[in-house]
Amino acid sequence: MLRSLKLEPEKCTGCLQCEMACSYEQEGVFNPAKSRIKVFTFHHEGVFAPYTCTQCDEAWCMHACPVDAIVVNAATGSKDVLNDVCVGCKVCTIACPFGTVNYNQDTGKVIKCDLCGGDPACAKACPTEAITYVDADQTGLERMRAYAAQSAQISPGS
């Protein structure tokens, strides 16, 4: 059963533990700027919204990569960047319409969520269960993707 990240802004307090955990797990530093999950702040509404890659089926990043450096992880369904293959051309960062592939200037490579190989550090670190790692069909993820695709009208098709 594939699992995915369930994000619930109404439970998020904006503590940024997820960003700290992600950057530490992935980059070895406590630095939210290096995090692959990001908490966005909506001052007017008093809301914090965690957001990261939904591992979408369209995989714009993967299809746009000119050197085959982004691959599907068969175990988790995540789309993973192969660091030794990535040349740092950044085309995936403009191809991803969700803005969830970013360029890391320190390494000259791109970074994106890879679900930590199936044990995401952000979910473990979240004290309020605003980020949980659950069965994909419980997250409404398909609905969410469908909505995003429909509202974004970015799938080729009539």
Binding site: A49, P66, V91, F98, Q105
Partner: protein, 422 residues
């Protein structure tokens, strides 16, 4: 079915792979005129810096990738297409019959009309073969004159600088990357490069290239009266679709091969994809050549499905580019220069080399340019291609253009649970 694909670049390869997925029994051939496995021209700058070797440029990394998928790689050149007989003529004189044909022949550099452009020591930087020539001559301390500071010129610029050459860049237009950025960020790029020791002369033309006095040296004469000694001259003054071989074929061309939303040409079993295709521009509805990787990938997939008999219409391609010039990242999307009757929001932080300009039509983002932005830049594509109605977020973006992610999350309800609270 026999599907023949001309061109082994990204559009052709992606088309072949997609064809194989939906047509398990079909014969699929890719005819390419370069030696070796299909590779990415986009990776060449990183080959020149030594970050990767030639294998690192290959589109697919496993040696048996194509044979495993029963995709036949034919090393030959197509000289002509006979669309009435549905066959292509190969350089060797033989013919190859097809039921559907995909033209994915890409583009080629156009040498600038400068006397001496044919001399030894003058090279384009387009193919792997070109890259080998450039690498041989662009050694530490060698004098290199780069003609053209468009997108390709600027990408090569970074590689050359990292190789430690003594570099001068000549651009005839008023500022660098004139088809990707407006003057404000372009001038910042020029200033940034000058600060790193790269001399860029804009609004300047090379008028002649001559053999110099020294043994292997060249001399580049400029219209400002200067003469530059050079061990290597690189011509990066533009590319054009490879359509010459289609003359007399009955296949309609303009700048490229004209195709509809199914990537079909005027000849019903002939399709085109990638740099050579002149298809629908998402933003303008006009037919344009978008010589960029994401368009090649989209075209390849849409063409393949239609070639296999599945009806698939393409929404049109959004022009988009991302560039790093000596570490300074810039991007542009869609109608980056603005839409008629539209308005714009702009953030300029010249001292930090940061710039962001958003172009709106009503409350919809239609284009953007950025400098120094490396986080969440793709969401600009999502906002543009989704024709997302920004509502009250339009004014918020005018006040602070950097809040593009927040605008996207709020306006599209990208997070399923948040529609109540955003």
């Amino acid at each position: 079915m026999a599907h023949v694909i001309i061109g082994a670049g990204p559009a052709g390869v992606i088309a072949a792979e997609n064809l194989r997925k939906v047509a398990p029994a079909a014969a699929i051939s890719i005819v390419g005129d370069e030696e070796g496995p299909p590779y990415s021209r986009m990776a060449i700058p990183y080959l020149l810096t030594g970050q990767i070797d030639e294998a690192g440029t290959f589109l697919r990394k496993h040696a048996d990738h194509f044979s495993q998928r029963n995709i036949d790689l034919v090393h030959d050149r197509v000289d002509a297409v006979d669309s009435e007989a549905s066959q292509v003529r190969l350089a060797g004189g033989s013919t190859l019959a097809y039921e559907t044909l995909l033209i994915a022949t890409g583009s080629r550099p156009i040498p600038p009309p400068i006397p001496g452009i044919e001399l030894d020591g003058v090279h384009p930087c387009w193919t792997l073969e070109d890259a080998r020539n450039v690498a041989r001559l662009a050694t530490k301390g060698s004098r290199v004159v780069l003609l053209g500071a468009g997108f390709i010129g600027c990408i090569i610029l970074e590689s050359l600088a990292l190789r430690g050459v003594d570099l001068t860049v000549i651009e005839m237009e008023r500022h660098v990357v004139p088809r990707m950025l407006n003057e404000v960020p372009a001038r910042l790029i020029e200033k940034w490069c000058a600060g790193k020791g790269v001399r860029i002369l804009t609004a300047t033309r090379a008028t002649a290239i001559n053999r110099g006095g020294s043994a292997a040296g060249l001399e580049v004469t400029l219209d400002n009266g200067e003469t530059l000694p050079a061990d290597l001259v690189i011509a990066a003054t533009g590319v054009r679709p490879n359509i010459g071989f289609l003359e007399g074929s009955g296949i309609d061309t303009d700048q490229g091969v004209l195709v509809d939303r199914r990537m079909r040409s005027n000849v019903s079993n002939v399709f085109a994809a990638g740099d050579v295709a002149q298809g629908v521009d998402f933003s303008t509805g006009n037919y344009s050549v978008h010589a960029i990787q994401p368009t090649a990938a989209d075209h390849g997939r849409v063409a393949a499905l239609n070639m296999a008999g599945r009806d698939m219409e393409y929404q049109g391609s959004v022009i988009m580019n991302v560039l790093a010039t000596l570490g300074l990242v810039s991007s542009s999307f869609g109608m980056w220069n603005g839409a008629e009757g539209g308005d714009a929001a702009e953030l300029v932080e010249a001292d930090r080399y940061r710039y962001l300009r958003l172009q709106f039509e009503d409350d919809v983002l239609v284009g953007s340019t950025s400098l120094g932005l490396t986080q969440h830049v793709g969401v600009l594509r999502g906002l543009i291609q989704g024709r997302v109605r920004l509502g009250r977020w339009k004014d918020r973006l005018v006040a602070d253009p950097t809040r593009i992610m927040e605008a996207y999350l709020a306006a599209t309800r990208a997070i399923g649970a948040n529609r109540r609270i955003l």
